[in-house]
Structure formats: structure tokens, C-alpha cells
Amino acid sequence: MSTVVELQGLTKAYGKVNAVDNVSFKLEENKIYGLLGRNGAGKTTIMHMITAQLFATSGELKVFGEAPYENARVLNRICFVKESQKYPDNYRVIDVMSIASSLFPNWDQDFADSLVLEFQLPLKRRVKKLSRGMLSAVGIIVGLASRAPLTIFDEPYLGLDAVARSLFYNRLLEDYALHPRTIVLSTHLIDEVSQMLEHVLVIDKGKIIIDEEADALRGRASTIIGTASKVDTFTAGKDVINREPFGGLASVTLLGELSAQEHRQAAEIGLEIAPVSLQQMIVHLTNGKWDRKAEISL
């Protein structure tokens, strides 16, 4: 499996603040990645550095094996769909599509046309007259039809309704299956996309806290519910990421897989074990309440 993007100790400092703090990870060819984290965690800064729109303060960055800055060989192969992409004032939808078709070597016009119909975009309308959702659809269509070897979607669906989002997921998976490429999805709607991801990167306060296969993360956290004293005895010494008291009861979320024996033990003393979704797990890990002692050992 060849590496498409490699970050080595990458840091971006704004004054005394490190927006991205000594981050290292790799993106491999033809996988779908989720880049997840709270607002201000550093996701967009990382994406801007990968796409050569921002210089790193220190560290090393390679995209398709080369430095990306002003490097046409690299930039030709990247499509970056931003949350708030700006277009020239007089551009119509059809002009955006025509520019995109000349920018991206793998552009598929038929695919773009069918997406325009499915998203019900008015081709002749000026981009600045589009609704928020339609504007997002323009970005999504460019991102999909460009078939760029590295396609990055940064919160691509502001204002898109559930039907349009579902359409986006379906077309993305179908087209990815036929034309594999590296895709990075940055989003807050984690529950919606978690099944589509092959690999998950979670960033919190400028640092990567999870870099793991998505499927392997399932079942890594669980919530124990029951009488407070029993719950606390059971969870003592374990990696607790959240605790909520509720009358005489408590609900405690743990990181780490529970053994079959622990499951039996919990059942015997009347504790309930509930699964935790990836989204809930990330909420607990990044809400600032949880005090990280060291690297998460998953």
C-alpha cells in the first residue's frame, strides 16, 4: 500500500499558540479517512497545509512523495472541497463546472451532469444567488466528478438536508468502489459517516489522539449503568472517560474492551452494559472534561 500523504512532526504556530502541534500520520492510497474533532481542533489547518494553502511552522510534509508547495505534479492530483468555497461574483453554476473540468485531469463530465440533475441544481443560475444547500451541492459535485487521487471534503454539507446528504454518501461509495482513490472526510456528523470510513483520525487541541482502523474502534468504549456504588467498584482502576450520576444510579463510560469474564461479572451484579457509538466516544474524549494522562492506549 503506497503512502499518499505523510506528516512528520508538523506544527503550525500562530504567535504562542500551536494550532497544529507536532502532528505525525500517514494517509494510504485508496482508503476513506475520517478527520474528526471539535471546532478549532486544527482539522482545517492540517488540510490547508496538505493542500499547500498554508506553510507549516516546522516539521515535514510530503504529498505524493513530494513537497506540495507550488508543485503542479502534486496539486493536479488534489481536489479540496471547502466548507465556504468562494467563487467569482459573476460565475454561474455551469461556469464552475466548466472550470473544474479543465482543472482536473480525471474529470468525468457525464458523472457531473447526472449529479447536477440529482441534486437539482439550476445550471444557469449565478452561484451567489444559490441557497446555502445548493452551494454545498456545487462543492460536492466538483469533489466527486473530479475523481482526484486525493479528494478532501471539509464539512462539505452546510445547509444540505438529510435527503441530499444521503445522496452524497451513496454516490461517494458507489463511485469510490469503481474508481478507488484516497478520500478525506472532515465532519461533525460522525454517526452518519462512521460506517463508510476505513480509518479514523481524531484531533484534539492540535494533537492527534486517535489514529486507528474504524472497524477496530467499534466496541472499544462501553457504558456501564447501575447502582452507583456497584458501578464505581466495577469501573475502579479502568480508563473512565465519563461519569454521570443519576439519583442513586451512575452511568460510567469506559475506554477499552471488556473481556467475556467482565461481561459475566457485570451481569451477575446487575449492571447493564451499553455500547457507545464512535460519535459518543469522541464527544467524551474531546469535551475537555476528560483529563488525558498519557497517549490513549487503545
Binding site: 451513496n170 461509495l173 458507489e174 468502489a177 472497524d215 477496530a216 467499534r218 462501553s222 455500547p275
Partner: protein
């Protein structure tokens, strides 16, 4: 279409179980072709690599086999094999916990047998 998957277990295991269910229920007869990885991925909205892992789990257990250039097929005789495997799991998953719960409520083995007979009749 998104089918609800169990949050607590890996998706590839659940994909393998769904294919096994289809074999048991006769939706996928022996020697029939299994939908492609990409069809599965689109249908369940799951990453194709995850689906492939689930399919390969069944290939390792010789439940599915690959015809080169055509696709995956259900092997002959596997329906009985899966049912045997499931019967063992049934004992672990249902019988053991049922007997335990019955014990808690003071239900004797005879009473339990009687209840099962009654349940069977009403089915």
C-alpha cells in the same frame, strides 16, 4: 439504505453473519453467487474494505469460495455446517442464560421444560 448495525461489534463480523443468515434462510442457496463487495458496500453504506474483510472471513471458513474473474459463491454443504455452528452458539447465548435466570426466579427444570412445551404449542 442504512441497516442498523450493532455498535458494540466490528462491522465485518456482522456482515459475515448477515451472509450466513441469508444462507440459512435460503436466500442464498448453495452454489449461488453472492453479491459483489461493491454491491454490498453501496447497499449497506459500508466501506468496501470492511465488507471485503467480512467476506474473506467466510472464505477462510470455506463457506464461500472464489471463482476467478466471476465472483464469490456459496460452497456446497455449508448450510448444515453453519446451522451446527449456530446450534452451539444457541446453547451458549440462550440456554445458559435462560437456565440462570430461571434459577433466580425459583423456576425448576421441570417447570422450565413445561414452559418451553407451552411456548412451542403457541407458536
Amino acid at each position: 439504505m442504512t441497516l442498523s448495525m450493532d455498535e458494540s461489534r466490528p462491522l465485518f463480523v456482522q456482515i459475515a453473519e448477515r451472509i450466513e443468515n441469508d444462507i440459512i434462510e435460503g436466500n442464498l442457496p448453495e452454489e449461488s453467487q453472492v453479491p459483489s463487495t461493491n454491491q454490498f458496500a453501496a447497499f449497506y453504506q459500508i466501506n468496501p474494505a470492511t465488507v471485503l474483510k467480512g467476506v474473506n472471513l467466510l472464505v477462510d471458513q470455506e463457506i464461500l469460495y472464489k471463482k476467478r474473474g466471476i465472483g464469490m459463491f456459496v460452497a456446497t454443504g455449508v448450510r448444515t455446517k453453519i446451522m451446527e455452528k449456530r446450534k452451539e452458539q444457541f446453547y451458549e447465548q440462550y440456554v445458559v442464560s435462560m437456565v440462570k435466570e430461571a434459577g433466580k426466579l425459583g423456576i425448576s427444570a421441570e417447570q422450565l421444560t413445561e414452559m418451553i412445551r407451552r411456548g412451542d404449542k403457541e407458536q
